[in-house]
Amino acid sequence: MSSFQAVFKREFKSYFTTPVAYVFLVIFLFFSGYLTFKQGFFAIRQADMNTFFMNMPLLFVFLVPATAMRLWAEERRVGSIELLLTLPVTVTQAVLGKFCAAWLFIVIALALTFPMVITVCFLGDPDAGLIVTGYLGTVLMAGAFISIGCFFSAISKNQVISFVLSVVACAILVFAGMPTTLNYLSTFLPSGLVSAIGTMSLQTHFESIQKGLLEFKDFSYFILLIIGWIAASSIILEERKAN
């Protein structure tokens, strides 16, 4: 087994040996359902999961950093990073292992929202393609948020600090694309700049995937975001692991 797999396996198991996984799953599943039904899932009288997916960015802004904050902060505070990084594993392998474990965990959490799919199918005849792209967009967004959380976890030994910083970073990415923000910005910024800010926002790309548009620019946006933050985490850890 390669070092990447070993780190991945340990990290993934550790979610379930501590209460982290269970607390996260209960809260996430509760709110993903609650928000959907509260925002008039029945009143719209449409058998689709649009409402469900539209809530995901807001939920993930808070919940994903909470799962990612411990990735490195804990390791550095306790000192087990000295054990991990004196084993035959490179920093990049370790970062990727931890990132993928957290990502898989979120994917599992999303998979557990399957009753929503069943409900929609029971009530009507939804477009399966839209559900698939909706989940795809959500998974990509989760990956982006985890990579951001991973980075902020690597820069601080304090989990609270890394949590707050990554919530802020994720929130900026989401809210920069909200129509209200863009309207406000257009009152004093040139329109070219406003649309540039809009296209840099995660929200814009998430919505377009969620609408069923599978465009290269949206995928590359998420992939680049993930690669960029992962690379930044590796560099910062290489520099500061022993401090």
């Binding site: 340990r10 040996t17 054990l83 990084l85 004196t86 022993a242």
Partner: protein, 236 residues
């Protein structure tokens, strides 16, 4: 097996390790002595590729610590000073994780785990969670972790710290029994230990090597007293 050449490392304005060079041959047990903050742990961290030196280099089993850190780590077993293990894991899970990362599988893994369990006498806590263990047991699990792949080079940072006298004795016996075909560096504050296990002693103070000799010779030069040898050399 270990060659260190002019290692230097500073933390901010503090020069922690200043131009340290020495080598350790196969079958040799090197005792690393010095007051707190002398730079012993920093040298060990550089050898295990956890810290990068500012200048100078070292090689372990022929692999350079800067050019080939992964090979170096493969050939080293390292017990850190404040063994922080993954406290939420059980001992068996933890050792299995180490085997995963060290690439030990199947029969080799079973043999390796059985071997270190009896070597470090941790049978009784094998299924316990690490955070519930006493300091002595944690240290022994840390030692087991460092021995699991039967490394050519062992680097042990205060291996007997926190152990009771009986366990201290066991660990010393263990080190003696392994010393024939390995190179071992141990750092310690216990001068008796040096007498009991080490073939050679290096005394460090303020980041520099102050003495590099054998325990017998040091004693001879200081009227048979390790304590006074240590004091005179480190306060020089």
């Amino acid at each position: 097996m270990i060659e260190i050449n002019g290692l230097r490392r500073s933390f901010g304005p503090v020069l922690a390790v200043n131009d340290v060079s020495f080598d350790v041959k196969k079958g040799e047990v090197l005792g690393f002595l010095g007051p707190n903050g002398a730079g012993k742990s920093t040298v060990m961290k550089m050898l295990t590729c956890f810290l990068k030196p500012d200048s100078g280099t070292a090689s372990v089993c022929g692999y350079d610590i800067l050019k080939n850190p992964i090979e170096v780590r493969k050939s080293i077993g390292y017990l850190a000073e404040n063994v922080a293990l993954y406290s939420e894991m059980a001992v068996d899970d933890f050792l299995n994780f180490i085997c995963d990362i060290r690439g030990l599988h199947g029969k080799a893994r079973r043999l390796a785990i059985d071997r270190v369990i009896s070597m470090c006498s941790i049978e009784s806590v094998f299924h316990q969670t690490i955070e519930t263990l006493s300091k002595g047991y944690r240290r022994r699990v840390g030692l087991a972790q460092s021995l699991i792949h039967d490394p050519d080079v062992l680097i042990l940072d205060e291996p007997t710290d926190g152990l009771d006298p009986l366990q201290k004795h066991e660990v010393r016996e263990l080190i003696n029994s392994m010393s024939k075909d390995k190179s071992i560096i141990i750092s310690t504050h216990i001068l008796d230990e040096v007498d009991a296990v080490c073939d050679r002693v290096i005394i460090m103070a303020k980041g520099k090597i102050m003495a590099n000799s054998t325990p017998a010779k040091l004693k001879e030069e200081h009227n048979g007293d390790m304590d006074s040898a240590f004091r005179t050399i480190t306060t020089r």
